[in-house]
Amino acid sequence: MKIKFNYFWGLLGVLGFLGYIFENQIYYVFFAFFLLFLVPIFNKIGKKEENEHSHLDHEESENYKVYNISIWFGSAALMISGLIMMATKTMSDLLAVIILLGITAYMANFFTYVGMDKKAQDERLRKIGTFATTYSWYITLVFISFLVITMYWAQNIHNPIELLGVTIFVMTSTMLIANTILSRKGDID
């Protein structure tokens, strides 16, 4: 049985352990994510033991599923944080930790998710990912620009935390939706 060490999971585990040392409950969130990210690894190992002759492509496909799960976790964390920021118009320690976890999950796996990872390049994923990212950036830019203009004209200046929440929510949700739709469709045309 061979387990590859992943620095991202390792970091989460260490941070979770720090929570025990410092007796700070916020750090336990890291440990919870560490345990959640272990689930796909153990599933993969279990499947390997069932079928010793499993093909390398199957392993790559399973790896991609792990990256996919990670991106969905990251997106969920960022979108929920964005919604809370929009609703409460304030930040808190817990919210900062959730955003940190979300963006860490995103940063660790984003380029694999959009097919731009050097080790596992897939031209269809890259094509779809590039298109989805462009759409996301474009919609966010247009949305934020109109929001700023209407805010000024209506003399209804919003809280910066609320605006950052809107930006995080729109950017993450549009990327996820566009990539999911195009992945199911097969191509950008």
Partner: protein, 67 residues
């Protein structure tokens, strides 16, 4: 676009996953190619034709009226 990848694959006794591994893409890409839902790059079309020992024109059929 239509493809004859499935037919050629059967001739060479290759699974979708094996073909995907040989040309460096994910199995899903081969699935969408076989369904005619994905337009491949020239390089991918060339690689597939090379693995399946056929001509690009024979494997990938572009219908001028629809595409």
């Amino acid at each position: 676009m239509k493809t004859r990848i499935k037919e050629y694959r059967a001739r060479h006794n290759l699974t979708q996953a094996q073909l995907a591994g040989k040309v460096g893409v994910r199995r899903e890409t081969i699935v969408f190619l076989e369904k005619g839902k994905y337009n491949p790059s020239l390089k991918l079309a060339h690689d597939i034709a090379k693995v399946l020992k056929g001509k690009i024109d024979d494997i990938f059929i572009f219908d001028d009226e629809t595409d």
